[in-house]
Amino acid sequence: MIQLKNVTKIYKKGNNTIQASNNINCSIEKGEFIAIVGKSGSGKSTLLNLIAGLDQVTSGQIIYEGKDISTYSENELANFRLHNIGIIFQSFNLIFSQTALENVLLPLIFSNISKNERKQKAIQALELVGLGERIHHKANELSGGEAQRVAIARALVNNPKILLADEPTGNLDSSTTEEILQILLTLKRKGKTIIMITHDLEIAQEVADRIFTIKDGELSVPEKLIENNNENK
C-alpha cells in the first residue's frame, strides 16, 4: 500500500544541515498497524510528516497505491490528505474556539458534501469514539482524552485508508492512553492502516503488528522485537 524508497530528508538550519531521515526503505501493507519507535529528535515525526505529504522529501520516493506522492503539487498533496489520510497529533491540534462537532466537520467542508450528510458523518465519527454526548462542547472545555478522541473522530470522518498518529497518547494519563489505544485497535480491526509514532516501546508492543525503531533518521527492525512479535501474534 505504501512504499518508502530511499527516502531522505535534510533540513538546513543556517550553515548546519540536519539529516532527519536517512535513506529509509520500508513497505506497509493494507490493514497493518505499524509503530515507529524512537527517542525525541530521532526523526520519527519527520518521517510521519513525509508520509502525510506535509513535508517534502529531499530525495527518494513515497509510493502510495502505485503513485509517487513526492512528485505531487501542493494541491495534489492536499487532495491526497483529504481523501486518503487521517492525522492524529500529540497536541490534538483542534481549533479550540470551535465545538467538537465543528472540528470534526472541518474536513467534510473541504470535501464539498451536503450539509446534512456532513453532520450525520461527523456525529457518527464522534459516537464511534464515545463522544456522542459532548458534540456541542467547545474543544477547550474537553479533557485531554476527550480532545484526542475528537482529533481521532476528525481524522476518521472522511473515511481515510490510512491513519497517521503522532504520539497520540503522549499527553494523556495511563487510563486515557489505554482508551485511545483501544479505539485505534478497533479501527485497525475495521481495516484501517495505522502508522503510529511513539517513544514508548511498551505501547508499541501492545498494539502494533510491526514495529520499526528510528535513530538519527535511520529506520531499522530490531531482531528482538521480531521474535516477540512472532510469539505474541
Binding site: N49, N93, S97, P107, S111
Partner: protein, 468 residues
C-alpha cells in the same frame, strides 16, 4: 468549499475577534459614509438643477433678444457664431410680426414678447417696489404655470388679475402658508406675519406704474418730474407661484400679469429705457421674445432657423453641456475625497487580516493538514475581507444616508423659509447605493488579496510547529 460554508466560517472567524473586527468595520463605514455623503451631494445638486430646468420646460425654451447676452463664447446660443459677431444686432426687428411668424412655425408651441417693468405694489396698507412680468393665457398649459402653489391661472389675456410670488408677499411682510403648515412658527423672520394662502387669493393689488411723458432724452433737461407720469391700476390676486431656486424667464418677476393687461398698462419698460439711452431705433417693439418649442429636437431645428436668419437667441440647453462638465468635475472631486477615505479603510482591512493570519498560523496549518487546499485557505481569508466590505458598505450607506438626512434637516430648518417648499440637497440614485456597496466589497477584496495569498502560502509543517 461551498459559498455558504465560507460565509458562515468568515462570520465566525470575524466574531472571534469582535473588537478588532468592529474597529476595522468602523473604518470602512466611515469611508463609505464619506463617499456616499460627498457623491450624493453632487448628485443632489445636479438633480435639483436639471429637474428644475426640466420642470420649467427650460430645455425646450429659448429667448430671442435684440443683442444677445451670451452664455459662453459667442452670441446667439454660443458656439455657432464667431466672437466678432457678438454685438451684432438682429436683421429682423423684434415685433408682433416676428411673434406671429414664430407662432406659425411647426416647432413652436408658443412665442410671446417679454414685457416687464417696475411698479409700486400695494396690498391693503403695505406697499413695496416690485417687478412685473407678463404671460399669455396659453401659458397655463406649460410648466411651471400649470402647477401653481395656490390659486389658478389668469382667466384671459386682458383680465385684471395677477399671480404673485411668495417673495413678493414676503416683501410686504406676509409669510403665506398652506393649512398644513399654518401653525409652523419656526423660521419666521421678525416683523413677518403668517397668513393662510387662501386669504391672499382674491385680494386687490394696487399697481402704481411710472410712464414717460417725453419722447426725447432732451425732455429730461426740464426736470424728472416733467418727464414722467404716475398711473394706478387695481388687479385681483388669483394665484401664487411656487418658490423656485432656479427660475425660468418669467419667474424672477414677482408679479405676473396677463399679457394684454400688461401691454395696456402705461409704464416704462426696461426695453424702452434702453432704446432711449442707446438711441438706436431699429424698429424693435420688444427687447426679447420667449419661445417654447414642442420638443428638444424642435428646439434644435428652431435654433438652426434662427441662425440662418441671424437672429440672436439664448437657450439654456447650450449651457447644459458646460453645466454637465462642471458637475462631472464636482462629482469627481467629491468622489475622490470619499475614495481616499475608503482607501484608508482598505489599509485597515489589510492590517486586520495580516494580524489575523499571524494569530491563526497554526490553525491554517491544521486546516491544510486535514485536507484544506491553498485555494480553500485563500477563499477563507478572502471571504472574511469581503464580509468586512459588505457589512461596512451596509453600515456606511446607512450612516451616510443618516448624515445627509441630518444635514438636509439642518439646512431646511435654518435656510428655507417656507416649510411647504423644503429642498432635498442630496440624491440617492440606485447606482450610487449599489455602486457604493460593490465598491466597498471590491476595495475590501483587494485589501484581502495579499493577506489571503500570504495565508495560502503558509507551509503546513511550519504552521503546525507554531505554539498556539
Amino acid at each position: 468549499m461551498k459559498i455558504n460554508d465560507l460565509i458562515v466560517m468568515a462570520g465566525k472567524n470575524l466574531w472571534r475577534t469582535k473588537l478588532r473586527t468592529i474597529l476595522t468595520l468602523i473604518g470602512v463605514i466611515v469611508g463609505i459614509a464619506a463617499l456616499i455623503a460627498m457623491v450624493s451631494f453632487g448628485a443632489g445638486l445636479e438633480k435639483n438643477i436639471t429637474e428644475k430646468f426640466k420642470s420649467n420646460d427650460l430645455f425646450t425654451s429659448l429667448t430671442i433678444s435684440n443683442k444677445a447676452i451670451n452664455f459662453k463664447d459667442g452670441p446667439r446660443g454660443g458656439k455657432m457664431h464667431p466672437p466678432t459677431e457678438r454685438t451684432a444686432a438682429n436683421k429682423i426687428p423684434l415685433n408682433d410680426s416676428l411673434v406671429d411668424a414664430l407662432n406659425q412655425r411647426p416647432e413652436v408651441n408658443i412665442a410671446y414678447p417679454k414685457i416687464n417693468f417696475m411698479v409700486k405694489a400695494k396690498i391693503d396698507t403695505t406697499e413695496t417696489n416690485s417687478s412685473i412680468g407678463s404671460l399669455p393665457k396659453k401659458m397655463e398649459k406649460f410648466a411651471p404655470y400649470n402647477d401653481l402653489f395656490a390659486g389658478k391661472y389668469f382667466s384671459s389675456d386682458s383680465a385684471k388679475e395677477a399671480i404673485v410670488s411668495l417673495d413678493f408677499l414676503r416683501a410686504l411682510g406676509i409669510e403665506a402658508r398652506t393649512k398644513e403648515n399654518i401653525n409652523n412658527k419656526i423660521k419666521l423672520d421678525s416683523g413677518m406675519k403668517i397668513a393662510l394662502l387662501d386669504t391672499i387669493l382674491g385680494k386687490d393689488l394696487l399697481l402704481i406704474t411710472t410712464n414717460l411723458k417725453c419722447t426725447s432724452p432732451l425732455d429730461f433737461l426740464g426736470g424728472i418730474e416733467n418727464a414722467i407720469d404716475e398711473d394706478s391700476t387695481t388687479v385681483k390676486i388669483v394665484g401664487v407661484t411656487k418658490e423656485e431656486q432656479f427660475s425660468g424667464p418669467n419667474l424672477r418677476e414677482e408679479i405676473l400679469l396677463p399679457i394684454g393687461t400688461a401691454k395696456a398698462l402705461p409704464a416704462i419698460g426696461f426695453d424702452r429705457i434702453s432704446d432711449i439711452l442707446n438711441n438706436q431705433k431699429q424698429g424693435n417693439q420688444y427687447n426679447a421674445i420667449y419661445v417654447k418649442t414642442k420638443s428638444m429636437e424642435d428646439l434644435k431645428n428652431l435654433k438652426a432657423f434662427l441662425d440662418e436668419e441671424q437672429i440672436n437667441y439664448f437657450a439654456i440647453d447650450d449651457g447644459l453641456k458646460e453645466m454637465k462638465k462642471a458637475f462631472l468635475i464636482l462629482d469627481s472631486i467629491l468622489g475622490i475625497i470619499g475614495f481616499i477615505s475608503l482607501i484608508v479603510a482598505g489599509f485597515g482591512i489589510i492590517n486586520t487580516m495580516l494580524m489575523s493570519i499571524l494569530e491563526r498560523t497554526r490553525e491554517i496549518g491544521i486546516l491544510k493538514a486535514i485536507g484544506g487546499r491553498n485555494k480553500d485557505i485563500r477563499m477563507i481569508f478572502f471571504f472574511e475581507a469581503g464580509c468586512i466590505g459588505l457589512l461596512g458598505a451596509v453600515g456606511g450607506v446607512s450612516l451616510g444616508y443618516g448624515i445627509t438626512r441630518l444635514a438636509n434637516l439642518i439646512v431646511n430648518e435654518k435656510y428655507i423659509k417656507n416649510p411647504d417648499e423644503t429642498v432635498d440637497l442630496f440624491a440617492f440614485p440606485l447606482w450610487l447605493l449599489l455602486g457604493s456597496i460593490l465598491f466597498s466589497i471590491l476595495i475590501s477584496l483587494l485589501a484581502g488579496l495579499y493577506p489571503a495569498i500570504r495565508a495560502s502560502k503558509i507551509q503546513p509543517i511550519e504552521a503546525l510547529r507554531q505554539n498556539g
